[in-house]
């Protein structure tokens, strides 16, 4: 006799309940009750005390009325629903996201195809162009030589390649979205909850449907995971940056008859650039953080080593690769910040 039997009886739903059959496979609770040797009659003999009233959850109601679905069936239902829309969704998403796989693979191959003695000076040159700081160039080159020396060079380059592609895509998608947000309050109101969700949702939660949607061996799986996580700051700061542009300057642009496009590219975006660059910096940092988690779904790079350290309890491997990631983070941060401060100096209002 279950606690809520009386409820269904008084509502006159008994026939509906009993007509539904046995209510599916036995649950663990039922199994335990059975193994304890008590029969249903014995259980019915001593009614549940009021203080132990069970919460009227799906499972508790199912005890009294088999027609009510159990929680287990409910999650099964969600799963089936997802699997049902998976295939049509895939037809749409696969072609759209395929270029991401190509970009990630292509970039990985390119970065690894360039010999180390070419790539390291090239990176140094890039840092010089961005920051004009000899110290920073030395730091970057030194870091890569060190990583090479401890045989982590290939992993580091793989990580760098993934970040490179994901950051480019984040900027390519995020800046236009940010611009659209800055121009329309409605767009801003609609987008901010999505951004909040992307930032708060634990990564693993959206990894699960992604794994079902795409195969684990496809690079776009981790590409999407990284981009979803890392795109938020560049969108937010583009929006903020454009909204913060001095109203007087905008008014002057209007007063001289600039068209919307002239205003956007000639005034708003250049003046928002420091904020946009700060967003890019944050995006890079967040993709780096995500690269480690993405190694769970076959992203190559230093994350794989960290994962190996966790999985096999190889403390040394984990610590050294972790240090490699920190090193990458520091140098990416320094380089983007140096580039940012150069922009800031040239347009201090």
């Amino acid at each position: 006799m279950a606690f809520y039997d009386g409820l269904f009886d008084t509502l006159g739903l008994r026939d509906w309940c009993d007509g539904a059959g046995d209510g599916g496979p036995m649950t663990m609770a039922e199994l335990l009750a059975k193994s304890s040797g008590r029969t249903a009659e014995e259980a019915a003999a001593d009614p549940t005390p009021l203080l132990q009233t069970p919460f009227p959850s799906l499972d508790a109601l199912n005890d009294a009325c088999p027609a009510v679905t159990r929680t287990r069936d409910m999650t099964d239902g969600v799963e089936n629903a997802f699997l049902a829309i998976k295939d049509p969704l895939k037809v749409v998403l696969d072609p759209i996201t395929q270029p991401l796989s190509w970009a990630l693979n292509g970039s990985l191959e390119m970065f690894q195809a360039i010999p180390w003695f070419v790539l390291i000076p090239l990176l140094g040159l890039l840092v010089w162009v961005a920051s004009r700081s000899a110290g920073l160039v030395a730091f970057v080159i030194g870091s890569f030589l060190f990583l090479g020396f401890i045989d982590h060079y290939v992993y580091a380059v793989q990580t760098l390649s993934i970040i490179f592609v994901c950051t480019l895509i984040c900027v390519a998608l995020g800046v236009p979205v940010g611009i659209a947000m800055s121009r329309s309050d409605t767009m801003q109101r609609a987008t901010i909850p999505v951004l909040d969700m992307l930032q708060t949702l634990p990564t693993f939660v959206y990894l699960i449907p992604l794994i079902f949607l795409f195969s684990v061996t496809e690079p776009k799986l981790y590409g999407i995971a990284i981009i979803l996580y890392a795109i938020v700051p560049v969108i937010r700061l583009t929006d903020l940056g454009i909204r913060l542009v001095d109203k007087d300057v905008i008014e002057a642009a209007d007063a001289f008859g600039m068209s919307d496009r002239q205003k956007l590219w000639g005034v708003q975006v250049p003046l928002a650039l420091p904020n946009i660059m700060a967003g890019v910096n944050q995006t890079i940092m967040m993709s780096l953080a995500m690269v480690v988690i993405a190694s769970l779904v076959s992203a190559p790079g230093l994350g794989v080593l960290v994962l190996r350290g966790i999985r096999n309890l190889e403390l040394g491997v984990g610590l050294v690769s972790g240090f490699g990631i920190v090193l990458l983070a520091v140098l990416l941060d320094r380089v983007t910040k140096a580039a940012l401060s150069r922009i800031n100096v040239s347009q201090k209002a």
């Binding site: 300057v249 002057a252 040239s346 201090k348």
Partner: protein, 353 residues
């Protein structure tokens, strides 16, 4: 004013708030600013503004902060749209303009100088000065040539490659003026253009503006809260209070015949000797056997005459304009004109201007 006005504002109202059109009848039927705000939550910006601005003259719109003067000037190039009324520029109603025509008006007919300079911080001084040309789609070379020409004219020949933040406030505003002049527009709007500058620089800039105006003959609409500045620059002075015009006319005339206690208050602190001119206090020329102590120009300030006379109030001067005798100035009249007229004390000299 006998000339056809180049800008003509007719029955202009501006109400800020959620539903300005529904609040408009209240205002036209005479509801005051504070009442409108308290009972209906709307802010009265401008009330029944009618101004005719003559070409090639400086029209100064003066008022304290909150009087609606900056709102008013923004109606001329429609940075703000009115609730009711007309703004007619060279015979065309600006309010009927579509987006593209309005942009052309702003690019070609009106340029603007701002209180806070509003230069593009990421562009060099030269690029800023040539802005209007570049906006219009003219080539780089023309833009730079025109920009450089006007920068040289306002005295910034050597600063072309600098960025605005490297210049002082006065120099930045010179760039702002060069930027406006480089567009070659017949109308220039100046929104408190000199208010952010310190007094000495401000005087410099006023002199620069008058000097340029002598040569260029633009129609200038100048906004200020400073009466000295207004009197120095104005050909036509409009005084605003709480969004409505209190008095408008020739500045000398307003100074000698304030129509309202508000304006009397305003003009009472002015150094009248420096502002008033001989033509405003002289009497018509007539031969009466006076012994003239000398001849003065009708546009001389009273201050300069006091200096000439050495403070002797018994003299009498002949007033000449372009070599013609136009009037007689008794020093006694001059001295009396220096005292602001008060209610009940209205025996000042009859204004002639």
């Amino acid at each position: 004013m006998t000339e056809t006005p180049i800008i003509s504002i007719k029955g202009l109202y501006k109400i800020f708030g959620k539903d300005p059109t529904s609040a408009l009848p209240l205002v036209t039927s005479g509801m005051g600013k504070s009442e409108l705000l308290e009972d209906h939550g709307h802010v009265l910006g401008l009330r029944d503004i009618n101004i005719d601005m003559a070409p090639a003259k400086i029209t100064v719109i003066m008022g304290l902060s909150g009087s609606g003067k900056s709102t008013l000037i923004r109606h001329l190039n429609r940075l703000i749209d009115p609730t009711a009324g007309e703004v007619i520029v060279s015979g065309e109603d600006v309010l009927r303009y579509d987006e593209a025509r309005l942009r052309r008006l702003r690019q070609e007919t009106m340029s603007m100088v701002f209180q806070k300079f509003a230069l593009l911080p990421h562009r060099t001084v030269l690029q800023n000065a040539g802005l209007s040309r570049r906006v219009r789609g003219e080539d780089q070379e023309t833009a730079d040539r025109e920009g450089a020409k006007w920068l040289d004219r306002v005295g910034l020949g050597g600063n072309h490659a600098q960025y605005p933040h490297q210049l002082s406030g006065g120099m930045q505003q010179r760039v702002g003026i060069a930027r406006a002049l480089a567009s070659d527009s017949p109308i220039m709007l100046m929104d408190e253009a000199f208010s952010a500058l310190d007094p000495l620089i401000r005087t410099d800039m006023q002199d620069l503006l008058l000097e340029l105006q002598n040569e260029l003959k633009k129609t200038i609409v100048f906004i200020t809260h400073d009466l000295d500045e207004a009197l120095k620059l104005a050909d036509h002075l409009v005084i605003l209070k709480d969004g409505a015009i209190v008095q408008q006319g020739e500045p000398q005339h307003i100074l000698l015949n304030p129509s309202d206690p508000y304006i009397e208050d305003f003009v009472s602190d002015i150094n009248r000797a420096r502002v008033l001119r001989v033509r405003s206090v002289m009497q018509p020329f007539h031969v009466n056997g006076h012994a003239f102590a000398g001849t003065v120009d009708s546009n001389a300030t009273l201050e300069s005459l006091i200096e000439i006379s050495g403070g002797d109030t018994s003299h009498c001067y002949k007033v000449a304009d372009d070599g013609r005798d136009v009037g007689i100035l008794e020093m006694k009249d001059l001295v009396r004109a220096l005292v602001p007229s008060r209610p009940g004390n209205d025996d000042g000299p009859a204004p002639h201007a």
